[in-house]
Symmetry: C2
Subunit: 277 residues, 2 copies
């Protein structure tokens, strides 16, 4: 379990606010790993070993594991067990359902006794409203990371609809702020919309923002920091493909480390510039 204060301390100590996304696709990992009993876990283990001092969070994407059925779920469980306790461990599941069903998703991902895993945080979709979120908040100290403004083309379909409370993504943030504070809720905000961070910081000055879209999707780290960083940093930048698939040879873990190190250095410069460290 990682509190807001512990996360901030990790960021200052590691001089990094990197989240490594474990979107591990068995078809994209190096061929030589296929000899192992569980190639996906073996890949994740080596990525974790190579990057744990450079990042403050890991985020396995549930879909990539579910796509392989029972074997994939076992890879996810084994990966969760291997995640370092000093990192914020996020399951990227984007679940969203009514209360009695959210209770079950909470068991699936936050309750080790029930399903073998107990992540620190889960990504959640807001469409069905507060029922969707309260089940997870009932677990003391666990985090909900709510979708606000996402980074893909489809984000324009609904998130930018104008409502009585501003854009839909702004209405989501305003409402969710009434459910819990910055010590329990973070928001997903895509890096491809860096000027929107100005708006978002007005609505959520203290919340951590989980930011996908730097790297493979083309978002700019300096722009995100310029508009989105607060006095505690307040950002976690996710990078998945750009790190984990930096090479697909036997050197994949070292290549991942080199890429993570390059991001960490940029992050350190941003933290210094903003006076966080």
């Amino acid at each position: 379990m990682i509190s807001r204060q512990q996360l901030i301390e990790q960021i200052k100590q590691k001089k990094s606010f990197l989240c490594v996304g474990l979107d591990t696709d068995i078809e994209k990992i190096p061929e030589f790993l296929k000899e192992y009993a569980d190639p996906v876990f073996e890949f994740n283990k080596r990525i974790i070993d190579a990057t744990r001092d450079l990042c403050v969070s890991y985020k396995p994407n549930a879909a990539f594991y579910e796509s392989r059925g029972v074997k994939g779920l076992q890879s996810l469980i084994d990966t969760w067990k291997y995640l370092p306790a000093d990192c914020l461990n996020i399951i990227d599941a984007k679940r969203g359902d009514i209360g009695n069903t959210s209770d079950m998703y909470a068991k699936a991902f936050l309750d080790e006794k029930a399903a073998g895993m107990s992540f620190d945080a889960i990504t959640v979709s807001p469409y069905m409203g507060h029922d969707t979120v309260t089940s997870y908040l009932a677990y003391p100290g666990k985090w909900v990371i709510l979708l606000a403004l996402t980074s893909s083309a489809g984000s324009k379909d609904f998130q930018y609809l104008t409502t009585d409370h501003g854009f839909l993504y702004e209405a989501v943030i305003q409402k969710a702020n009434t459910w819990a504070g910055a010590d329990r809720i973070m928001y997903v905000v895509g890096a491809t919309k860096s000027t929107e961070f100005v708006n978002i910081r007005k609505l959520a000055p203290d919340n951590f923002l989980l930011v996908p879209g730097v790297g493979a999707q083309g978002g700019s780290l300096p722009d995100v920091c310029r508009y989105g960083m607060n006095k505690d940093c307040g950002l976690m930048i996710n990078a998945s493909r750009s790190i984990i698939y930096a090479s697909n040879g036997r050197d994949f873990a070292e290549a991942a480390r080199t890429e993570a190190q390059s991001m960490q250095k940029q992050m350190q410069a941003e933290l210094e510039k903003a006076g966080v460290i």
Copy 2:
């Protein structure tokens, strides 16, 4: 695989538009089933045997299986294998993510070779827009059942926000209608809002609507039919707890049948009243 026309034929033949929700909670099933190797599958099997001539669809709720980890996923796979081919088999997963992740969720639930299951239809959350939906539509003949207006209290938080295109749930329907026709997309519309069906039928005259909230949540079947039925029926009414937990003794399957039969009789009367049969 069940086409729109085949679904309509099933409805006319069985004189029913019932969907049985398999929200199977191991803590709520009869004690004597605990002796079996897989009590959840044993429960589902007997529920299916007792109701298959009375319903046109089954809908396992993924959360209830995921909450039990690997064992739960195996129960879901075995349940999928046992589902009757003449019924529309829906996985209630409410997934929603960007394209490359949705591709993985599609493998998880629609591609037997990848993950052991190939449902006819999957429920999807619209928040992230068209990326969320296209991955599933790429599987020929498979259905997307998109959340529009849900039945719990949280639906008021965002679905009723006024946008440039009406309420958010109306904007969702209008936009999704541009992605695929009534032969590939259905909408989830909660029974607790029966007068809203008038609005919804203006936007989606031909789409099937999957309707939760009759039964345990208090929605009225005659009201839903009055406002929501179209010339092909166009409705599937989901009932979960009211059927599967009708008794928690040794007679649970017969009790489930009695309850399903009572709903089927009411549905037959509605189909006759509307001239569908």
